[in-house]
Amino acid sequence: MGCGTSIAVENQTHPSETDGSIRQPSPALTIKAAILIQRWYRRYVAHLEMRRRYTWNIFQSIEYAGEQDQLQLSSFFSFMLDNFTHMNGNGPDLISHLLDSVVDPLTEEVRQLKYEQIVVPESYCGPRLSFPLSVTDTNALLSAFKEEQTLHGKYVLQLLYETKKFLKQMPNIIYLSTSYAKEITICGDLHGRLDDLLLIFYKNGLPSAENPYIFNGDFVDRGKKSTEIIIILFAFLLLYPDHMHLNRGNHEDHIMNLRYGFTREVMQKYKTHGREMLQLLQDVFSLLPLATVIDNKVLIVHGGISDKIDLDFLSTVERHKVKSALRLPKRSVDHLNVHANIRSSSRQSGRSRLDSPCSSGRTSRASRRRKKHITKQGSCSSSSSSSSSSSSVCSPRVSSRNTSRRPPPSPSLPSPTDVLQVPFLDSFVSLEPPEPPRDELERQQVVDILWSDPKNQSGCSPNSFRGGGCYFGPDVTQALLQKHGLCLLIRSHECKQEGYELCHNGQVITIFSASNYYEEGSNRGAYVKLGPELVPRFFQYQVSRSTRKLTLHQRVCVAEGSALRALKEKLYAHRSDLMAAFQQYDIDNTGRISTSEWAQVVESVLRLDLPWRTLRPRLARLGADGNVEYESCFEDISPGEPIPPVTPNLAETLYRYRTDLEIIFNIIDKDHSGQISIEEFRQTWKLFSSHLGVAVNDQTIDDMARSIDFNKDGSIDFNEFLEAFRVVHKLVIKEQQQG
């Protein structure tokens, strides 16, 4: 069967071919040849498409899983709070470090004067802004950033200051109209990708009276040019206040910025003024409007909606009070109140609270599967669809949900969330909410707007796992649109492979503008244009690093390589758990187990819900007998290092908690100088290691602290901080060898 045989036969029945003269092959043969090539090529493309898809799944799963790590950080915070009293009195006041923003009590006029007086050196050849801004300024900014120049800190401060002033007079919801037969362009998440913004401007023109724009949040974090993006966006905002509109996203939040890179970027680019910029940005972000409505028909918000959203109520909310969606567990309130009373008297309730972390509620496969898991658990309180989005109501479900998802703790590294659960329960159940109900309602509305995701099933299920935001179904969309006479919801917040996606019977559009979000080739970006007839037109693009067009194969390979590297790091980070489980199947100690068993183990430990059998050829070797050599999935991880012995070791911890460590470091490093004192380090390390259940004695910590201060200047930078882990690992191994 198949073409192969028939071609051979055809050849044989053409004896004239043997005489060497050129003959036209019969049309039938040509057709057969064409079909064969087409068949073959389509199969090749399908294979690539499969690889592209699972690469995408890997990125999504890891991103989602990474955001669950946010919970570990929160648990560390609560652990630190709980153990605050156990720290010896000489330690620095870490709690105040966490909670105090360094408040600079300048009045507005003084501040403005101060900025004007900043001297810009003659040697600076970047743009020099003058307020009020003009087109000259915005053009200068665009040219400068294309040339990779940095805007001088003075102008950034002035820009932020003017933006804050401007935004203060903005309402929560902005009403626009297309009455001048104009098309409005709506862009989604940019996440610090300047190339994408420049590409949009190139394709679609700069903002102007004839070319209005709405940017729907998440301008910063993850990408490396967040600063440039907000400078451009704010500059256009001030230049064309009627034609340029910005909605707040969940990443316009100073706690998120600590985690996802914006804080670091600002501090690195602006060593002198960075701290003050971050201060201003806290206010600017919280003053960004929450929603835009076009022609009273189209609602545009960053995340989504919930069954509690009411636009009339939303327009009365004091949005600037919600500085961050993340809050400390309420149990810590007592601690806070004690210190709050001792310190300053006027502390806004919105500022000093960090909650259970809200990672962005992406409806990834993992999350949906997770939700299904939840409902099967038969939660002890009311059904998920009817309860409110308030985090305080859902505590019993929090525990069951969390414990069902956590991987089995390894013997010496107990899961951090085991420590988390009890305090959380207590706090929600036993304490009265210190905030008055109205404030709490307002906060909920804001968090829902910024964090929610659409889902396909009906109902509105709270995302109490993250402390806020919902999954809203088509019925919720329908109800809200109807209530306010709207016909369409445009939102962002979730990365989509094609840059946009419709759901809820076309009533919801997701628009995402950061192409290659996970990796080169992972996805397109898009923007949508709406004219007076309110029919959306989509425009897609993809930024390419190389000038030569990459083939499909090349694009897939790059993205896939990156995804697989990330996946291998995950494997490595859970090495001891994995090896222990592998060995349970490998009774005869052959070093091999079946593909089935391998897939089962990996899924049960990593819980990423990925097609492991399909991925296996990329992750692990097969032995001669067709079984998987399970240790081979840990190869190629740490360059140049031989596979370390399989003991629960801190090199794994390094991988697992690396991002968290950076956040912790950034928090301890209050003045963002990039350095912490040795004493601060000691205190933090002690807490962290006891939190992880890793036994390291005082003397060891002291030795370590001294040894990692490589330049002996009495302070530790982040690299030295990380080095601590490797050093301790060596010390621990040494102990084990001696013991």
Partner: protein, 177 residues
């Protein structure tokens, strides 16, 4: 009487078929199918868009033609087509396809022969226009997008021709990686 005999032999063949295939092989095959299906099951509800069926079947190692796919999809669709294919229907059909080794791979040699047929003047290469003409007009025609994509990989940038022997080797290698 002839029919009786032939019926009987069919029954016997399928019995042998069953016999020979141990549980493990069937389970392994089904797990492979399940994995591939899951990659495209975006809503995690054991359904995939019918337009992805071709990709799934091909990614499992089969080389069906478009006509073959049409037949398979017709089998898989609901009585009232929903645009989705359910796993319960897909699994038995796909298992059968794999176990019976239908739509077997096209070898490198065969592919090369096909290109040689199209190279009527035996130049050893093809002009992009030539190949485009054949593949977008003959057989089961490529869309413009498919043609552009193939050309981007196939055309030698210096000589602006398709050196099909090299192309075939490269693609075959790529495919196995």
């Amino acid at each position: 009487e002839v029919t009786e005999t032939s019926k009987k032999s069919i029954v016997t063949f399928s019995e042998i078929h069953h016999f020979l295939l141990s549980d493990t092989i069937i389970t392994e095959t089904q797990k492979r199918i399940s994995n591939a299906f899951d990659v495209f099951d975006h809503e995690s509800n054991k359904t995939v868009d019918v337009r992805e069926i071709g990709t799934i079947i091909r990614s499992l190692g089969c080389f069906p033609s478009e006509a073959d796919l049409h037949d398979i999809i017709a089998e898989l669709e609901e009585e009232e087509p929903t645009g989705f294919v359910r796993y319960e229907k897909f699994l038995p059909t796909m298992t059968k396809i794999l176990l019976e080794r239908k739509f077997r791979p096209i070898t490198e040699d065969l592919l090369l022969q096909a290109f040689e047929v199209l190279d009527q003047q035996k130049k050893g290469h093809l002009e992009p226009e030539e190949l485009t003409k054949y593949l977008t007009q003959e057989g089961e025609p490529f869309t413009q997008e498919e043609m552009d994509e193939m050309l981007s990989a196939a055309v030698d940038p210096d000589k602006n021709v398709i050196l099909y022997k090299d192309f075939v080797s490269m693609m075959t290698f790529d495919d196995t990686r």
